[in-house]
């Protein structure tokens, strides 16, 4: 342990640890020493150990409901499950409950995973309702399964073997140890790719799936992980109480206190639930001493919950942090767009391109030589999507060949983005098939398609607002293995590559900022870096130039070309026609949900059908010339056609 009187070196190390960890460490030391200083006060030890117990549960709850955003209102069930497991096994085997406590954790996890496998397949509110129902069901089962649980009479356990003079002290340390483990576990999860994936699910589940997060498995795993320490603590708690009955073990009040603790302290933060638990347990104790029975406590906790939601929606720790920041404003970074255009980085790209050409020279040559016979990477056959009465994608046949930068252009509402949604699995098609690298993918969930090598950006950016920019860029998962999930979220080589990509798009200085604080155009650039990170086989870019400063467009094209030179195929939807003509080949023109022309830029540029469909009034059959807004001169002036280019 680092002592305050250490060498200057140690002191420097100490100053680099965040203040919150130092405070937590100090609090731990104080709590660990307390029974030594004051061994004979069983009451205060009892109050403290109940606070530890609540904090253990709240820390667990925070994993599924804080990180992943799926609110569980029946979390106290797992404490009861742990208690009953240990009590029943203890009764039949005679083993001391302390040694059996981990079994309680195992039971909790098994039940959570089984329930989660059913409930967490869907999105939304079903989970909340079912967790309450489960808690009540558990109470009913415990009451009626006499043979196992002794029904409403409850189970009486053996008394602790140590002297009643210091009765509470072993329990005090057991719960403190479990609390430390629970917090470390929570911190570890938050640091892994698994943790980042959970935050991604909370922020935007659809987008999370699009970057390769197997949302179902992540949610189930999070639910399981959220219950382990509560289950173990339940075993210890049963021993502490020495008596167990269904109403006490599966009380709704326990769940309310867990939720209240986390909301009060700060949902989704590491220490928030712990801080909240200490306050709530203090209140609870005060209510018991001064307020009377259980009924008044339910009322009090309910009112406290309402007050927290109304007046402290973010929770204590995040609010304190915000106030702290307001008092000492940081200097705001602004995009380094001149830097992005400066010579060194440009040289880097060229060098990288040369390297790529040296390395994969032959592959690249193959692609070029066999251009007209190049392998189809993505094939769509008869793809159809309806929205109500509107045929958004109408029986589309389309082939994207490997190694190309294929563009889709077309009027607004011609189905381009919907086509992207069908290909990446964000939406299911009504008919037709999608083949990727020869394999049928239209039945696969979005994350599997991501693992196969499909990456996309969105027309309206969908970054994870609460994550830092760097975390966003490293968030995509290349595969669905556990090893990948449990790897560090931001690790060496990966972080270097992410920083490099951020520099490429001119956003390097923003790595540590919260993504939600960036402007739209900046988010657009970060999202591009995010999808580049995965280097998928096929990248779908939905209006990459939209909202991006013109000075960055050359850079953007360079980046796309550089990545393309490494053999990665692009499918780009874009309205910036000069950029498309310069960058893409072939160009597919969409109109009314289907392709009407395809060919190299030179051909597309001069195709009268294309010009008519794209610039003319084809989508709205009746409106031509109606009202006061005729298209000037029947054609579009040059400055409007050359969108955003100087």
């Amino acid at each position: 342990m680092t002592s305050a009187t250490g060498t200057p070196n140690q002191l420097r190390l100490l100053s680099r640890i965040p203040a919150s960890h130092l405070a937590a460490g100090a609090a731990f030391l104080a709590l660990a020493l307390y029974p030594v200083v004051n061994p004979w006060n069983a009451y205060s030890q009892g109050v403290a150990l109940l606070a530890f117990l609540l904090a253990i549960q709240a820390s667990g709850w925070n994993i599924i409901s804080g990180y992943a955003g799926y609110t569980s209102l029946g979390q106290s069930m797992f404490l009861g499950l742990g208690s009953y497991t240990v009590a029943i096994v203890g009764l039949h085997t005679g083993v001391n409950p302390f040694w059996l406590a981990p079994l309680g954790g195992v039971t909790a996890v098994v039940v959570a995973v089984l329930v989660g496998s059913v409930v967490l397949r869907t999105r939304g509110h079903a989970f909340v309702i079912i967790t309450i129902a489960l808690l009540l069901a558990a109470q009913i089962i415990a009451t009626n399964f006499d043979a196992l649980t002794n029904g409403s009479d409850g189970i009486t356990l053996e008394l602790p073997f140590w002297s009643s003079d210091y009765q509470n002290i072993p329990f005090y340390y057991a719960f403190l140890l479990l609390l430390v483990l629970a917090v470390l576990f929570s911190a570890w999860i938050r640091r892994t790719k698994f943790g980042t994936g959970l935050i991604a699910i909370r922020e935007d589940e659809g987008k999370a799936a699009a970057i390769g997060v197997d949302t179902t498995r992540f949610k189930i795993a999070a639910y399981g992980a959220s219950t382990f320490f509560a289950g173990v603590a339940g075993g210890v708690y049963a021993y502490f109480l020495t008596f167990l009955n269904p109403v006490g073990a599966f009380a709704i009040l326990g769940s309310v206190m867990i939720v209240l603790s986390s909301l009060l302290g700060g949902r989704g933060t590491l220490y928030g639930p712990v801080v909240g638990a200490f306050i709530v347990q203090g209140l609870n104790e005060a209510a018991t001493v001064y307020g009377g029975g259980t009924g008044s406590r339910v009322l009090l906790m309910g009112l406290a919950l309402v007050a927290v939601v109304l007046f402290l929606p973010a929770g204590l720790l995040p609010t304190a942090q915000r106030l702290w920041r307001q008092r000492r404003p940081q200097t705001v970074e602004h995009t380094d767009q001149r830097g992005a255009l400066a010579t060194p980085s440009r040289a880097d790209v060229i060098e990288a391109r040369d390297r790529a050409e040296l390395g994969d020279g032959e592959d690249r040559a193959d692609v070029i030589a066999g251009d007209d016979v190049a392998v189809p990477l993505l094939e769509l056959r008869g793809l159809t999507k309806r929205f109500g009465g509107i045929l958004a994608v109408d029986n589309v046949d389309l082939t994207v060949r490997k190694g190309t930068i294929t563009a889709i252009i077309g009027p607004n509402g011609s189905g381009k983005t919907t086509l992207f949604n069908l290909v990446t699995g964000t939406m299911a098609a009504n008919a037709g098939e999608i083949r990727f690298a020869g394999r049928r993918i239209d039945g696969l969930p979005p994350w599997k398609r991501g693992h196969l090598g499909l990456g996309r950006t969105f027309q309206v950016t969908r970054l994870f607002r609460e994550m830092s920019v760097l975390e966003n860029v490293v968030a995509p998962l290349p595969d669905g293995r556990w090893r990948t999930m449990l790897a560090d979220a931001v690790s060496g080589a990966e972080a270097d590559r992410a920083r490099e990509l951020l520099d490429v798009v001119g956003m390097g200085r923003f790595a540590a900022q919260r993504a939600g604080s960036l402007s739209y155009g900046q988010q657009k650039l970060v999202e591009l870096a995010q999808v580049l990170m995965l280097e998928p086989e096929l990248m779908l870019l939905d209006e990459p130039a939209g909202g991006v400063n013109p000075s960055l467009l050359d850079r953007l094209k360079d980046v796309i070309r550089e990545v393309n030179a490494r053999g990665i195929t692009f499918l780009v939807v874009e309205h910036n026609i000069p950029m498309v003509l310069d960058l893409c080949d072939p160009i597919v023109v969409f109109s009314r949900g289907r392709p009407i022309a395809e060919g190299p830029p030179a051909q597309i540029r001069s195709d009268p059908i294309v010009l008519d469909a794209y610039l003319g009034d084809d989508w709205r059959p009746t409106s031509s010339g109606s009202g006061g807004g005729p298209v000037p001169g029947g054609s579009v002036p040059d400055h409007e056609l050359s969108t955003g280019r100087g």
Binding site: S623, S642, G644
Partner: protein
């Protein structure tokens, strides 16, 4: 184009504002003369959208003042500012996806919801100006494409016949034809004496439509003037039009369109 003779409709002076992490705007001074179209350009993250958010009351400035036709607005809530005739079309995500196009546009007239005749009249006028409002009236806004939504968002802000319209990147996600239609709407607004303040990355389009130009960088105003002056300013061309000195400007422009 009309001669610009009006008084200052809007004045921002010394405005600093941010989102809790520090000041994005670091002392912005800006004026909009009545009846003009002013276009703000600048790099991503320069604070352009933040200026609009301060003007519409969505973000309260930390210091500085905003006056609208002589009245202080920097401490007013957004609905009061809307009542004064300032309407904003945000950058994205602004429609109610489950409501129809017609309902969405009508929501723009929430403040005059009791004046049914006026509502109907305005709806007709907007339908004539922006055809999609009529043609897709009964489709859910969520079923529209990105560009179509953009048109509906602009249509909606016209319901209150605002004095000052704040447009955040009206060209975003629009195909060339819709772009021409939006440009046309902005021209019509200008002809009917509505003051417009727009933020635009499509610098040519933006300054082409505008009478006045403002260049922002790093949370400050760097350059103001008539649109032509700003567009032709050498530094401007170097920094924000993508044609840095030494590069060949217009390399990507198609030599001929047909």
């Amino acid at each position: 184009m009309r001669a610009v003779t009006g008084a200052n409709l809007l004045t921002m002076s010394g405005v600093t504002a941010g989102y809790g992490g520090g000041d994005v705007l670091q002392g912005v001074d800006l004026t909009c003369v009545e009846g003009t179209v002013t276009c703000i350009v600048g790099p991503n993250g320069a604070g352009k959208s933040t200026v609009l958010r301060v003007l519409s009351g969505l973000l309260r400035p930390r210091s500085g003042t905003v006056t609208m036709a002589g009245a202080r607005t920097d401490r007013l809530p957004p609905d009061e500012i809307l009542r004064l005739g300032v309407a904003q079309v945000p950058q994205s995500h602004a429609l109610f996806p489950a409501m129809t196009v017609r309902e969405n546009v009508l929501m723009g007239g929430y403040l005059i919801r009791r004046q049914r005749a006026l509502l109907a009249e305005r709806l007709d006028m907007i339908g004539a100006r922006i055809p999609i409002v009529r043609e897709r009236a009964h489709d859910a806004a969520g079923n529209l494409s990105g560009g179509q939504r953009r048109m509906v968002e602009i249509a909606r802000c016209l319901m209150l016949d605002p004095k000052l319209i704040l447009l955040d990147e009206p060209s975003l996600g629009l195909d060339p034809r819709s772009l021409a239609a939006v440009a046309d709407v902005i021209r019509t607004l200008h002809e009917s004496d509505t003051t417009v303040l727009l933020v635009e990355q499509n610098v040519r389009l933006g300054l082409g439509l505008a009478t006045h130009g403002v260049v922002m960088e790093g949370g400050r105003v760097r350059l103001t003037g008539t649109a032509a002056e700003v567009g032709e300013h050498p530094e401007m061309a170097a920094l924000y039009l993508g044609g840095a000195p030494g590069q060949t400007p217009g390399r990507d422009r198609p030599s001929a369109r047909a």
